[in-house]
Subunit: 338 residues, 2 copies
């Protein structure tokens, strides 16, 4: 924790900064007596520290959410009922819930060196920039670097689920609509740039400031794995359609439509609705294949933990012949989808 | 599934009978178009079958809850919002929620032989009978057997959380208040009779109709384990108080009172609130000890899965010296506690 001259209180975890002053200001403005704190898994070990810092500065009762939390869409709605304000850490506002104050975690890491190296391997003229919320405050710096080297630079607006232009999240690539020749993705991990690459069908160059790796993402391995998954579900006669009750993931209308499509093809489908979706919890149901309408990442990231195929809605459509392979796309939850 | 001459539809799983006709009647009475089905873990594998039987008889949309379910107190409240009726299987009504229809599972197993053997070893005159909901329809038969052998027989009323006289559940032994010399417990498992034994301080004789075992329960091993747990927490300076958001388990007022007690003893306490309580999900918080105000069985049944001590509220009071060892008691959630 550090106090700066503007009386701002910043809590620093590794390279991430969390604005405690924002929390204190909201408590004061709303006269909050009881507050909730919700942390994604990676920040949970800081929960008690952050709670105590807040209580050193303000007399409030604090309830820390112990539930799993995997995104801005994953709001502890029961905690909202029990508190005056719910502070949700590490994600940006997706517009699902007015009662929640999002407390982002901003990375202090210097992205300039890796972006400089990335610029050298660009082949296009008009370059889109995408990143995660941890680095969105660096977009202008990246744009300036591109322009200084003679490129055009595009930071596209996302839809209403996206808090900042240029920001991508795991289920929404709407800030990468393809209004450019190729993309720079600044951040860690391959999921977001792979998704953007499949969605845009454009080159996406990873500029990873954590390990300084720079390379063009290759979406083919993921596409091949998904093709194999569809093949594994080929003979399925009984489908379990997974529906989430999470505020930002609930696609019950889509699930109902998929059920009717499956039944039109003379197969069975049951709707299974749940909060946290885990392979263990679905073990008892034993269909031949699942179709996942909850968090789109479940079908991709967790597929090895399920012992039966888990398809996205797009992949189900391919399986039953209502969509062609060349129309393969990432499953996204776009504004207006719910 | 079998149709009897009264047009009743009974679904049979192993030795358990589930009254499907009850479900159809409720659907008809309420004109339900969308229904929810919630099953405890042991019945989940029957969920799809039961759903399809209902749909063979009535045109309804069915949403099956995929969430874990560990008791009548563990109601899928989000599913209530999405359906006209929520059918909750395998438990009896605890009075928490008017929107839920409980569909019990009644055991067909013959309890007479094991009860006959149990009667031979009774040492008291006035015998209380306790059992779980699966066998409550056999209480009269047990009572008749006792009376025929010259015993007085008592079936005590429980509090408002208990659906049937003589019924015990894992967190409520109010139908065993000790108005007798000793108890017969008819059912499987040792948790309920052990709890009743500690609560009543009376002999409890197990009559297990599943394996035909008959013996007097010995509560000492459990009491010794809990004593060791309290000892392990002796030096704890930082406590995490676990609070459940489940409709029948939420004891936030108790949790707040325990937090203040802990702080009065110059130790720290944080309130951690969650739906499903698992050791994995609590890993990130790392206090020196937990105090569990959620389902009372968590501290007992799951203690080996936590790597730090988990105390009940009663045990915390013993730890901090506000209760004496001789006042050790089971943690119960009694009517009026919430």
């Amino acid at each position: 924790m550090q106090y700066n001259k503007n009386k701002e209180i910043i809590y620093t975890i590794d390279d991430l900064e969390i604005d405690i002053q924002l929390i204190l200001n909201v408590i004061d403005e709303r006269g909050a007596a009881t507050i909730g704190l919700q942390f994604p898994e990676g920040l949970k070990r800081q929960a008690v520290n952050i709670s105590r810092i807040i209580q050193q500065h303000r007399r409030v009762e604090v309830l820390i959410s112990g539930n799993p939390c995997f995104g801005a869409c994953d709001i502890d709605t029961q905690l909202i009922e029990l508190t005056d304000v719910l502070f949700h850490f590490g994600h940006s506002n997706q517009g699902f819930c007015k009662e929640v104050v999002y407390v982002e975690a901003r990375s202090k890491i210097d992205i300039a060196p890796v972006v400089a190296r990335t610029i050298k391997i660009l082949s296009g003229k008009r370059i889109g920039i995408i990143t995660t919320v941890q680095h969105v405050h660096k977009l202008q710096e990246i744009q300036d670097m591109l322009v200084a080297e003679g490129f055009e630079s595009v930071i596209e607006e996302g839809d209403a689920h996206i808090a900042y232009p240029g920001q991508v999240i795991g289920c929404n690539f709407s800030a990468a609509r393809g209004n450019c020749d190729e993309y720079i993705y600044v951040g860690g991990g391959e999921f977001h740039p792979t998704g953007a690459s499949i969605t845009t069908r454009k080159n996406v160059i990873i500029a990873n400031p954590y390990n300084n790796n720079v390379y063009k993402i290759n979406p083919e391995p993921l596409i091949r794995r998904r093709c194999a998954m569809i093949a594994k579900a080929f003979d399925a006669a009984n489908f379990g359609i997974i529906v989430s009750t999470k505020i930002g993931q609930q696609r019950l209308a889509l699930a109902g439509a998929l059920k009717r499509k499956i039944e039109e093809h003379n197969k069975n489908a049951d709707l299974i609705i749940m909060d946290l979706v885990t392979p263990e919890q679905l073990l008892g149901f034993k269909p031949d294949a699942f179709v996942n309408t909850a968090c789109p990442r479940i079908a991709i990231d967790d597929s090895k933990r399920f012992n039966i195929p888990v398809l996205t809605p797009v992949e189900l459509e391919i399986l039953i012949g209502e969509r062609e392979w060349k129309e393969f796309a990432m499953d996204e939850i776009l504004a207006g989808d719910r």
